[in-house]
């Protein structure tokens, strides 16, 4: 996590060497996470696809370095990445965005949970504490212009109380009954606003999440049809095996897609 800022010039944030030391663009990314509170706890869904940006190395002045001018779109590079992980006894963390930063966050949380366990005193970190810790981390990184390029979803249950919250890469943080990241914000949240209830059973909760994930599958080009749903209750965490959703492509409009595209716009 330590990085050297060149000291021979005052503008550490602007020169080329400094740029290679901080995050400018995400490179290997996961897409949406959708999560809801239900009767017994929290359910969180994510797909297992991870994209890799195709980028151009730009010749800059006399130096050839890794500065990326932008990307040529992306490739579906990895299809088996778990983007939802259990944290301690009481929490579940899902992440969209840069996977390497997610792994870094998991390392921080690992240390946090380890130290908490070492106290061995009957007190343990609950989801609220983990959420606030992550908010501090994300916000502090943003202030140094070196963000962890993730939107995190933190859910959990402790002492019978469910908790669900979100932290963005700039440190915006809040709690809610249902959250979604990335494209999920636009496609899943309207569905959740209409159909979420406080007393959802496990089956209904899964059905609701699947409905959201199906829309994302159809409309988010970075989503793939291989998803996992994780559940956390007072008893603990369960992550489902990866599975696919049934899709329907036999709509009339798809049969003759060019029918409406005669002539110019």
């Amino acid at each position: 996590m330590t990085f050297t800022i060149p000291i021979d010039n005052g503008d550490a944030l602007k020169n080329a060497e400094a740029d290679s030391q901080r995050t400018l663009y995400p490179y290997v990314t996961g897409t949406s996470i959708v999560a809801i509170k239900y009767k017994d706890g929290v359910l969180m869904a994510s797909d297992m696809g991870v994209l890799m940006a195709s980028s151009l190395c730009k010749f800059k002045g006399f130096m050839v370095d890794n500065e990326c001018a932008g990307s040529y779109g992306s490739t579906l590079r990895y299809k088996n990445i778990e983007r939802v992980k259990a944290i301690g006894k009481h929490s579940l963390l899902g992440a969209s965005g840069e996977i390497s930063d997610f792994q870094e966050i998991l390392r921080y949380l690992d240390e946090l949970v380890l130290n908490d366990n070492m106290w061995d005193d009957g007190n343990s970190l609950g989801p609220k504490e983990v959420h606030n810790y992550l908010t501090r981390v994300m916000y502090n990184r943003r202030n140094k212009f070196n963000p962890l390029w993730n939107t995190l979803v933190l859910g959990g249950v402790k002492n019978g109380e469910s908790y669900l919250g979100m932290v963005s890469m700039i440190g915006v943080s809040f709690e809610d009954n249902h959250v979604a990241t990335g494209f999920g914000n636009h496609l899943a949240r309207p569905i959740l606003r209409d159909e979420w209830r406080a007393d959802l059973s496990f089956e209904d909760g899964v059905k609701l999440l699947e409905k959201c994930m199906r829309v994302l599958l159809y409309r988010d080009r970075s989503a793939i049809n291989k998803l996992q749903i994780a559940k956390i209750t007072e008893e603990g965490v369960t992550v489902s095996q990866p599975y696919s959703l049934k899709t329907f492509w036999e709509f009339q409009a798809f049969h003759n897609p060019t029918a409406g595209a005669q002539g110019s716009w």
């Binding site: 106290w119 005193d121 009957g122 007190n123 970190l125 609220k128 606030n132 810790y133 501090r136």
Partner: protein, 271 residues
């Protein structure tokens, strides 16, 4: 205490395996005015005797709020006590800020003890000359700890430190088994009675003691003089009716609570 050739600095052991400077620091605690703590499953009461330098000055502040759920009473070098209270407040608020959750008191006392231990192992430092009774809440309920200058800490159901604390301890030893299930009011009454034990003859007035309470659903706060005086009045009055004279209670504390006269004062409370 006796002069030794091994007591000049804290980093010198005696041949019998003692660190005299640390023990002398613990003596400083015994010289301070009394502080008492008791706890039930859900509440902690901290009480102390108000000692003033002279009639002209105000009394020393010996009980500090560390957070809504943690309070500390000190005995010994009050300046050292103030510095440690500031440290505790800082730890509590940093934890609150990072985790939006109250710092478990058990973890705070360990930090405090480790801080005290450092001062017993550096030749350029001296041990803190203050004993701290830390009362607070964590996930498992209410706790009372005693941190001493040696860097040790112990958990107690009830404890008293400072001068004439033995009288209070004897009183508490007789009654501590009932504290876990005590009501908040009984706990306060017991705390004030324990303070009275340390006064050894002086009449108990609310101006002589400071009492603070914290508990599940009740943030740390001091009881005002009126409330304390009301509690005192309840047992003074009954004692007066029993004895038929006002001088009986000064006599009772002098006989360290083990005999009949002492019990006669306390007995009305036990019914």
């Amino acid at each position: 205490m006796f002069r030794n050739q091994y007591d000049t600095d804290v980093t010198t052991w005696s041949p019998t395996g003692r660190l005299f400077q640390v023990e002398y620091a613990m003596e400083a605690v015994k010289q301070g005015s009394a502080a008492i703590g008791l706890r039930s499953r859900s509440h902690v009461v901290l009480a102390c005797v108000n000692k003033a330098q002279s009639e002209l000055s105000s009394h020393q502040k010996k009980i500090f709020k560390v957070d809504d759920h943690i309070g500390v009473a000190i005995a010994g070098l009050t300046a050292d006590g103030r510095v440690l209270s500031r440290y505790m407040r800082s730890e509590a608020i940093n934890h609150s800020f990072t985790y939006e959750s109250p710092l478990p008191v058990g973890r705070l006392v360990v930090h405090l003890a480790d801080k005290a231990q450092v001062c017993t192992q550096r030749s350029w430092k001296r041990p803190y000359g203050v004993g701290l009774l830390v009362g607070g809440l964590d996930e498992s309920g209410a706790h009372l700890y005693y941190n001493c200058p040696s860097g040790n800490y112990f958990e107690y159901q009830a404890f008293a430190i400072g001068s004439r604390s033995q009288a209070a301890k004897t009183y508490l030893e007789r009654r501590f088994e009932s504290f876990a299930d005590s009501s908040r009011e009984d706990l306060i009454k017991d705390a004030i009675l324990a303070v009275r034990e340390t006064l050894q003859g002086e009449t108990l007035k609310s101006s002589l003691c400071t009492v603070s309470v914290l508990g599940v659903g009740e943030p740390f706060h001091f009881l005002d003089q009126e409330t304390i005086q009301n509690v005192i009045d309840t047992f003074e009055k009954v004692a007066d009716e029993e004895e038929g004279e006002g001088e009986a209670e000064p006599a009772a504390p002098a006989e360290e609570g083990g005999d009949g006269t002492g019990d006669q004062d306390v007995a009305p409370m036990e019914t």
